[in-house]
């Protein structure tokens, strides 16, 4: 006995509506293909067509307006089994909202067949035009008729990479055409031209579907019949933990800190501020200190300021901010501008280490000016500044910082390495 996919003789559509033709021929097509009920997952959009799911004894998923193809893409990729047939019922309204999803599903080759019920208007809400309404076609809210031709969804998904695409007229037995689309792997789409018996007919008296299609220049044909490139979901087994060994830092050196030290490093994006800050905190960790590093930069990654708040502390750190840092290091004009407020609020206990190319700001902080940019260029100024600060502060061994430097990619810069060795009298 043939599998009954539809559980009722009374489908929920108006008399004469092609939605009924599509549903009944879907059953017939699936029968021709020998599919069983649970081989099929029917995903429906919103619109008159969306209330069909209860009539189908397959798996059914009924989601949001316009999103059925995206939802079906997730179902298809999640199930990851080409033997399961995912069918999407969507109207011209849903396809207008979710155009991106149709193009995307065709582009990725998700295994599914999308059946576009194109009745050229929004039937459920009173007959408003869609982006598929053909030029000249009238609807209750557009009595003068559409001024532009409708989207060619078949052409669009063909361009996006669909494996099989056709447009048919929703009259008579269309089960062979549906079966053709259902039998394809990858993404297939079949657009079924219909006329809404409630709104389309009333607004365009005497108009016949076939002549309308002809006059609007809508082609009834197979658009694409390509070798399918079906999507296959990648399931990568045995991926390594994110806790890699290079994150682990063993205590190796002593430190001389007896209270938290809060620093603010402020320079220009692309000039190694974050790298210098990371080198600093790694060196701190190697002395058994607790550390935090909080970056600040504008939305565009490569321009403007780049700053880093860092804290080194013998005690656990809870609050990672520093409204009044103990030390402010500024290596560029961008950095000065960004650090201005902190410099204004600095007390005489604070230290400001600033490149000598920058005008000294007015502040209560103790200022030390040094030549960084001129010696090593902007790109490495903050690295030099960190070495300079740590040599003066004497809180962690310079040997420790040098070790961090040598372990970083920046040490490949031979000139910089030599300059650091000479300036700070330390071997790399």
């Amino acid at each position: 006995m043939e599998t009954k996919f539809i559980n009722t003789n009374t489908l929920p559509f108006c008399k004469g509506c092609s939605h009924t033709t599509i549903s009944q021929n879907t059953e017939k097509a699936l029968q021709k293909l020998g599919k069983s009920l649970l081989d099929v997952i029917l995903v429906t959009d919103i619109g008159c067509l969306g209330i069909i799911d209860k009539a189908f004894d397959t798996h059914t998923v009924h989601g949001l307006h316009g999103r059925s193809v995206a939802l079906a893409s997730g179902v298809s990729a999640g199930v990851n089994n080409p033997d399961k047939k995912v069918i999407v019922y969507i109207g011209d309204g849903g396809a207008t909202i979710g155009m991106q999803h149709l193009l995307d599903a065709a582009h990725n080759g998700y295994n599914m067949t999308v059946v576009v019920h194109n009745n050229m208007l929004y039937g459920m809400t009173g007959g408003q035009p869609s982006e598929f309404t053909p030029k000249g076609f009238k609807t209750p809210t557009l009595p003068q008729g559409a001024s532009h031709k409708g989207y060619d969804i078949c052409g669009l998904v063909t361009e996006a990479g669909a494996s099989y695409v056709s447009r048919i007229t929703g009259i008579g037995d269309i089960s062979d055409q549906l079966a053709e689309a259902f039998s394809r792997d990858g993404f297939s789409l079949i657009e079924v031209m219909e006329i809404c018996t409630s709104y389309g007919v009333k607004s365009n008296p005497g108009m016949k579907l076939k002549s309308l299609i002809r006059e609007a220049g809508i082609e009834i044909k197979v658009y694409a019949d390509n070798k399918p490139q079906p999507y296959e979901t990648q399931e990568r087994e045995g991926l390594p933990s994110l806790f890699s060994s290079d994150m682990l830092i063993e205590k190796e050196f002593p430190h001389k800190l007896n209270k938290p030290l809060r620093l603010f490093l402020s320079g220009t994006a692309g000039e190694g501020v974050q790298a210098a800050a990371e080198m600093f905190i790694r060196a701190g960790m190697r002395c058994g200190l607790n550390v935090t590093k909080k970056g600040s930069y504008p939305v565009t990654v490569g321009v403007g300021f780049s700053a880093s708040h860092i804290i080194l502390s013998p005690e656990p750190i809870q609050y990672t901010g520093a409204p009044r840092p103990d030390v402010i290091i500024v290596t560029s004009e961008d950095g000065l501008k960004f650090a201005q407020k902190l410099i204004d609020n600095a007390t005489k206990e604070s230290l400001l280490l600033i490149d000598d190319s920058i005008e000294r700001p007015v502040t209560k902080a103790k200022i030390i000016t040094k030549t960084f940019r001129e010696h090593v260029g902007g790109r490495n100024a903050m690295i030099m500044a960190v070495f300079e600060y740590l040599q003066q502060a004497d809180i962690i061994p310079m040997e420790d910082l040098m070790k961090q430097f040598m372990g970083s990619k920046i040490s490949a810069n031979k000139t910089l390495k030599r300059l650091i060795e000479e300036t700070f009298e330390i071997e790399g």
Partner: protein
């Protein structure tokens, strides 16, 4: 041994270890590190073309029996809202990590904030709840991520893991040995031979589950008001009752995902309250106040929504309650106390920067602790 790490890495690793299989996302600052790490760590990783698609794909994967995760920030989250309503209604487990940044609109992508809690409270049409679990420490990034996923699977619901820029982007030294072991979730499936009723509920009000791909029973998922069979029904008593049962499932099982920290100082009549990034400033303020001989109690809710009676009971035991959060109107305070808070409830609020402990201490002292 100490590791140099950040919250994004901890969360991603925790979610994978707990059994999350799929990460789907569209990149957005400041959630990018979660996207980056997920690409290296999740069994399946999909780059979606936008956030609506993200949530739809996740729903499809979830219907197929996988546990999906995404990470986003307000602009992306706003696009997801209708689809989150759908996933809630279909009762599809998933975790959405919401990394808060300064709004409204695109605001400032690189500035942290705590501005989304009222949105989360009202994101479902009808005012229903989705569990919102937040992080405030490194260990929270680990444990709350696990709890979020387990709650999603256990209650068949989307769960929001709420965090913010500084929590997921700040690097810090951390002892990995302090992390609790995470075991993967064991999903429960319907095993009966009788017809599977997709929204038939167990004694806890949770519907049994079968993936839409199974070969034995028909499965239906419906976003519209539906009966236990997943059939769209309109406002029939059965369908309306199903809608209410979804909410009851979230509310009645609140104890199974209730997480908070309450450090009580017996001699204190002041309670500091905060969550997320500001909880660290509150802890620091409490430490300083204690050193000064003015101890205060500290209450850090981690399950933020729905709000349990217990929170109100804890707060009612204090003459002064100071609530600190990084938004201007005092959003969580309003959720707790309504439009006008009682006179003994005080607020510390900022935007565009973290609240610092001194500001909290100043507020405490203003009210006589």
């Amino acid at each position: 041994m100490q590791a140099l790490i950040d919250g994004s890495r901890l969360m991603t690793e925790a979610l994978v270890r707990a059994g999350a299989e799929v990460f789907i996302g569209y990149p957005i600052t400041p959630a990018n590190n979660l996207y980056l790490f997920s690409g290296k760590r999740f069994k399946t990783f999909l780059a979606a073309p936008d956030e609506i698609t993200t949530l739809q794909w996740m729903s499809g994967f979830s219907a197929a029996g996988k546990l999906p995760v995404t990470a986003t920030s307000f602009p992306g989250f706003a696009l997801m809202l209708e689809s989150i309503n759908m996933a809630y209604m279909m009762e599809l487990p998933m975790v959405i990590v919401l990394v808060q940044r300064l709004g409204p609109a695109t605001g400032t992508a690189t500035s942290g904030a705590q501005g989304d809690i009222t949105l989360l409270n009202g994101m479902l049409s009808g005012g229903y709840s989705i569990p919102v679990i937040s992080t405030s420490t490194a260990n929270d990034c680990w444990e709350m991520a696990e709890h979020a996923l387990k709650t999603a699977a256990d209650l068949r619901t989307p769960v929001i893991l709420l965090t913010s820029k500084e929590e997921v982007m700040t690097q810090f030294s951390f002892d990995l040995d302090t992390l609790k072991e995470i075991k993967p979730i064991e999903r429960k499936y319907y095993t009966g031979d009788e017809k599977f009723i997709p929204y038939n509920r167990d004694e806890r009000g949770v519907p049994e589950f079968l993936p839409v791909s199974n070969d034995k029973h028909q499965v239906r998922y419906t976003a519209s008001t539906h009966n236990a069979n997943g059939i769209l029904e309109g406002i029939t008593p059965e369908a309306l009752s199903n809608t209410i049962k979804i909410q009851e499932k979230i509310e009645n099982n609140l104890d199974s995902y209730l997480y908070y920290e309450f450090v009580k100082e017996e001699s204190s009549d002041t309670l500091l309250v905060s969550y997320g990034i500001t909880a660290n400033a509150v802890r620091e303020a409490a430490k300083i106040l204690k050193e000064e001989g003015r101890p205060v109690s500290v209450f850090i809710p981690k399950t933020l929504l729905p709000i349990p009676d217990l929170y109100m009971n804890i707060m009612s035991g204090y003459n002064n309650v100071v609530i600190a959060e990084e938004n201007h109107p005092g959003l969580y305070r309003k959720l707790l106390f309504g439009a006008k808070a009682p006179a003994n409830v005080h607020s510390v609020n900022t935007i565009g920067r973290m609240i610092n402990p001194d500001e909290i201490i100043e507020e405490v002292k203003k009210h006589g602790n």
